[in-house]
Symmetry: C2
Subunit: 131 residues, 2 copies
DNA sequence: CACTAAGCCTAGCGTCACTAGGTGTCAAGC
DNA sequence: GCTTGACACCTAGTGACGCTAGGCTTAGTG
């Protein structure tokens, strides 16, 4: 099991949630599923992680929410990116690139590294959240 | 300033420190400089971050240390990876790949993304620690 | 009716990078 | 000689924040 790996996405959660909303508005539960699906099952975030993040983002003005009633009759709170949220996402993306490249540079060399190469397209086990 | 971005490397610090030691043994201060140099200045980690990490890694058996006296006459504690540490690094690398790919997948799409393209090779401002 | 899935919410915990402060050595400047 | 600054190490305490663990409601299914 890899679930024991600590808070890997500490500081990256906002970026991930915003990215999940970039394509189209969605309600909280759908955000969770979108993240799980898009990440290939790697990010299986519990509700207690995503809902507070959405509230935080709304308070910060990055998203706004509307209560709607789904065709099934259930009430949902649908979140959408604001223009400011889109800008925040862009900034997060830049920060992410810089961060990822930096980690890659530090890890590159050391002999063993690099060789890996492929690996894309698989469905690795979740790294976070596993109820 | 980007320094305000929270604990981006929460959970990734061990991997970074281990990677910095993968090439050759080094003392704490040199580890800090190696990380800063290799990351292109992005990771400018304060001592209060790296020393506890090294102690933690030593207690975990991933590195061992030897007190030496530098030609300059100063006492240094030189850390080296143990075989177990090398295995830990490999595991961290795998976890990192999975994590990074997952984030990339979540961020990819949303229209704006992907287009960025270049940007590699620059020396962006530090994301963490800047005294 | 019981039970599951959908859908939302929040108080509190635990982790861990970072702040802020401390020690001591060596070289250079005034 | 005394201060400044780089080198080199250490640690107690703080704070942010993802996550656990709980609780709530409604719709479908047996």
């Amino acid at each position: 099991m890899l679930g024991m790996e600590g808070d890997l996405l500490k500081g990256h959660l906002d970026a991930i949630v915003l990215a999940a909303l970039a394509g189209e508005a969605a309600h909280g539960y759908a955000v969770i599923e979108a993240i799980r699906r898009r990440s290939g099952g790697v990010f299986n975030l519990p509700e207690g992680t995503v809902y507070p993040a959405l509230h935080r983002l709304e308070k910060a003005g990055a998203v706004n929410s509307d209560w709607t009633t789904a065709p099934s009759g259930r009430r949902r709170r649908v979140y959408a990116l604001t223009p400011q949220g889109r800008a925040t996402l862009d900034r997060h993306r830049d920060v992410w690139r810089a961060f990822a490249e930096a980690v890659e540079r530090v890890m590159a060399d050391s002999g063993g590294g690099g060789g890996n190469g492929g690996g894309l397209g698989d469905h690795p086990p979740p790294l976070a959240g596993a109820p």
